[in-house]
């Protein structure tokens, strides 16, 4: 108990300072201090019309560096966004703003990016060849399509000239993106909304002109407009998939998987608070569930269900839709449960 208290105190202090990036390849921000990460990000299949200010990467003849000549075959480009900025508010919201097109590209919930293929494992540091684009983690619920959505005076800003990114500033830690078209300056801010699969956006620009965000009902005003966008589930992502060849379930394997799958990003093992319920002192103990009058016991069946279908029983005080379901082989589920069971009693 005392240990837990100390850990809780330490946890609070860490949250109060700016949390630096660590070897955790699934970094997350918080509602108060969103994480801004410039990196290559995945392209979940966005409409080509969104990218008029990009060029097209084309296939190239395979090159043999041993003989210094092209050989049979082609190397294809891969999907990814080069000049984007990814932002995360914890499980509540992640999004990608592109500095080349100067617009929001997509938004998701329940996780952020798994940097493993790009940053590599701490001891090896090797990126995954030709497949190093970080992976999404969570539920994708909105993505851009068509031409740039901002209109002033009833005209698309694409008619006024190229969109030029100029930077961003932080307002209470929240990035406000800045770009211009000619001498007309715009800002764009995104925040989590209290609705599921939603975000709240603020657009400014064109001070005395009608300003609108095309395609969103009611997203119109003079000089500044704030609106909420609710999407729908477009895809579920589980970060970077590793290959595990596990013969027999065990707590040791479970601990390894716990780290591999980045569970630690949301679940502590020592009872301290995090994005998700702690696994320390959980197994065999009562858990209060939203919508249920009586507590349930965190037995094997409960733990299995909670990993397989995280929304089945939502722990009181935690939001739904944040933990992605992990499509794992049974031997991995069993290992994770065995590991969580070892955390059931305080040391």
């Amino acid at each position: 108990m005392r240990k837990t208290l100390i850990l809780l105190t330490l946890g609070l202090q860490l949250d109060a300072a700016e949390p630096p990036l660590t070897f955790n390849n699934q970094p997350m921000g918080t509602l108060d201090r969103p994480l801004v990460l410039r990196t290559y990000v995945p392209d979940p299949g966005i409409d080509d019309a969104v990218f008029p200010q990009h060029d097209r990467g084309r296939p190239v003849a395979k090159y043999n560096p041993g003989i210094g000549q092209d050989v049979k075959g082609e190397i294809q480009p891969v999907a990814g966004i080069a000049g984007a900025i990814a932002v995360n508010f914890g499980p509540a919201l992640s999004y990608v703003f592109d500095t080349t097109e100067c617009r929001l590209l997509y938004a998701w919930q329940g996780g952020f990016l798994d940097m493993t293929p790009y940053w590599g494992e701490p001891d090896k540091g090797s990126r995954i060849s030709f497949d190093y684009i970080p992976r999404l983690s969570g539920t994708l619920f909105w993505q851009a399509s068509g031409k740039h959505p901002v209109e002033i005076g009833g005209k698309s800003i694409t008619d006024l000239g190229p969109r030029v990114f100029t930077g961003y500033h932080l307002e209470k830690g929240v990035p406000v993106f800045e770009y211009r078209v000619g001498e007309q300056h715009f800002t764009f801010t995104l925040k989590p909304s209290d609705q599921p699969l939603s975000f709240a956006a603020t657009l400014t620009g064109g001070e005395n002109t009608a300003l609108a965000y095309h395609g969103i009902d009611g997203a119109a005003g003079k000089g500044s407009v704030t609106f909420t966008v609710t999407g729908s589930q477009l895809g579920k992502f589980q970060g970077y998939k590793r290959v595990n060849n596990i013969a027999k379930a065990s707590a040791e394997v479970g601990e390894k998987l716990f780290n591999q799958y980045g569970c630690a990003a949301c679940h502590s093992t020592d009872g301290s608070a995090s994005h998700g319920p702690s696994l320390g002192g959980l197994a065999g103990h009562p858990v209060e569930i939203e919508g249920l009058a009586t507590a349930v016991t965190a037995d094997r069946a409960y733990l299995l269900e909670s990993i397989k279908a995280p929304n089945a029983k939502i722990v009181k005080g935690y939001p739904p839709n944040y933990m992605p379901p992990f499509g794992l082989p049974d031997v991995e589920y069993d290992s994770l449960v065995l590991y969580i069971e070892t955390l059931g009693s305080p040391e």
Partner: protein, 490 residues
């Protein structure tokens, strides 16, 4: 009896053992914040002595250096940079960082200790999606910068959507330039307006304008880079890697410069500007980091330091100008002795008494990540002080008195070879020759060697046997390589 012996020992040591490495240099690991991946992309000092460190995942920390290498009080100043590999600290509250897609100014405008404004300072180069396209910077002396924009690697792809115009011809080959200004040095003026400056680089990981205004960068041995070069960079010149020429409107020989120069090697040699100094890849430096001049007050003041990103080594370069041509010699400054690998960024403290080295390899081999500090304790080791070319050979000077046997020509071996950069990954030495040596002159601290058959366009390996100085100090380096681009007039 025992006490007497100890006393005698303590007194006798400095008299007979002379100056050893450990008497001259102390190498320490600087502890970065616990838990932070110490992948140092770039380092720089503010005028008030605050050290800023850019880590490649995106964080920038700052601290006032402490005497205790584990006692730096680090604060997170800024975050969110994509593989930032160049930094200029304008003030303790304002920095500029070259990251993959742009150069960004980060400023703490509200005085709370962390940056809150991130403004694009310069852009205009593309980004293909390849992992290899990192950038670095040096001040231009007029409020602007020279930027080194690296090429992409064939070990990685491009994206379907590229930032900037895509060139099919530029995409070909090993290291490539599929989008703009990969393999170039660019100039950004004080307002951030970018113009191309010089072409033909492969991976010039670090660029440096010296106090006299001369611009230098290294490169990485590989395709079209025979060994590890140090280039004297001048506007409009081509330094040998053809892919960058797809972006040069003045290059009209072919739409496919890579294929063209592969087939026209003589023309290639006429068109390219060779390295001021060729640094043998195995013996000296496998992958050049950022050049940096030894400051006033240092024994090697005015000479150049070149970190080895792929070895536990720092190279010392002794430059000279023969007519209009830069050239010179290289030897080790530090080889091993507790130095980590991954060396690529270098900064001396304002008093010149300490040298900070930023290190990272992550993604290119077994990680060797961190920050080390070399403290100059005062004494100078017995070492090669300088190698200069003479009309008939070389004058090799030392930092301490040389023993009589060093003046014996039989103690010396001089051989030479040429390098031909081409499409291969590095080039072996060619046309190897041994040269007969006589001692033309000798002083207390120098030997002038007469080298038979001395010719321009060759790299000379100059070796003597290890020995102690007249002061009893062990010789640190007995081998130097001299790149003779030109010979002095008799």
């Amino acid at each position: 009896m025992k006490t007497t012996f100890l006393l005698f020992g303590a007194l006798a040591t400095p008299l007979f053992a002379g100056v050893k490495f450990a008497d001259c240099y102390k190498i320490e690991d600087i502890k970065l914040p616990a838990g932070s991946p110490a992948e140092v992309g770039a380092i720089d000092f503010a005028d008030d002595g605050t050290l800023f460190v850019v880590l490649r995942r995106g964080d920038v920390f700052r601290a006032k250096p402490a005497a205790d290498p584990a006692g730096f009080d680090w604060h997170l100043f800024a975050t969110g940079f994509h593989n930032g590999c160049g930094i200029d600290v304008l003030s303790p509250t304002k920095i500029r960082v070259t990251q993959m897609a742009e150069m960004t100014e980060a400023e703490d405008s509200d005085g709370d200790g962390t940056a809150d404004r991130y403004t694009r300072f310069a852009s205009g180069w593309g980004l293909s999606g390849n992992y290899h396209e990192t950038n670095s910077l040096t001040r231009d002396g007029a409020g602007g910068y020279f930027l080194a924009v690296g090429t992409a690697s064939h070990a990685g792809p491009t994206f379907f959507h590229t930032l900037g115009t895509f060139s099919d011809a530029g995409r070909r080959g090993r290291n490539y330039s599929s989008v703009k200004w990969k393999g170039w040095v660019l100039h950004a003026d004080k307002d951030g307006n970018v113009t191309p400056w010089a072409s033909g680089f492969r991976m010039h990981n670090g660029i440096y304008r010296d106090p006299q205004g001369e611009l230098w960068c290294g490169d990485n041995q590989g395709d079209w880079k025979a060994a590890t070069p140090l280039y004297h960079v001048e506007k409009g010149k081509f330094y040998g890697h053809p892919s960058s020429l797809v972006w040069d409107p003045a290059f009209t020989k072919s739409k496919d410069p890579l294929a063209y120069y592969r087939e026209h090697l003589d023309e290639y040699n006429r068109d390219r500007t060779p390295a001021a100094v060729e640094i043998p890849h195995m013996e000296m430096n496998r992958s050049a980091g950022e050049p940096m001049e030894f400051p006033a007050g240092n024994h090697f003041a005015g000479q150049m330091l070149l970190p080895d990103n792929n070895g536990e080594r720092l190279t010392r370069i002794m430059l000279e100008k023969v007519g209009d041509t830069w050239q010179g010699a290289c030897t080790h400054f530090i080889d091993g002795r507790g130095l980590r690998s991954g060396n690529h960024r270098a900064r001396f403290t304002a008093d010149g008494k300490q040298l900070y080295i930023g290190q990272t390899v992550r993604g290119w081999g077994i990680p060797a990540e961190g920050l080390q500090r070399i403290t100059f304790l005062g004494p100078t080791p017995f070492d090669i002080d300088r190698v200069t070319i003479t009309p008939g050979g070389f004058k090799v000077s030392y930092t301490d008195g040389i023993p009589a046997e060093m003046k014996d020509p039989k103690r010396w071996k001089v051989s030479s070879f040429t390098y031909q950069p081409r499409w291969t990954y590095g080039s072996d030495p060619e046309d190897k020759k041994d040269h007969a040596v006589t001692v033309a002159a000798a002083g207390d601290k120098s030997v002038t060697l007469q080298v038979e058959g001395l010719a321009a366009g060759r790299v000379y390996r100059i070796e003597t046997r290890k020995c102690d100085s007249t002061g009893g100090s062990p010789l640190q380096n007995n081998i130097a390589f001299y790149t003779a681009n030109a010979l002095p007039k008799p």
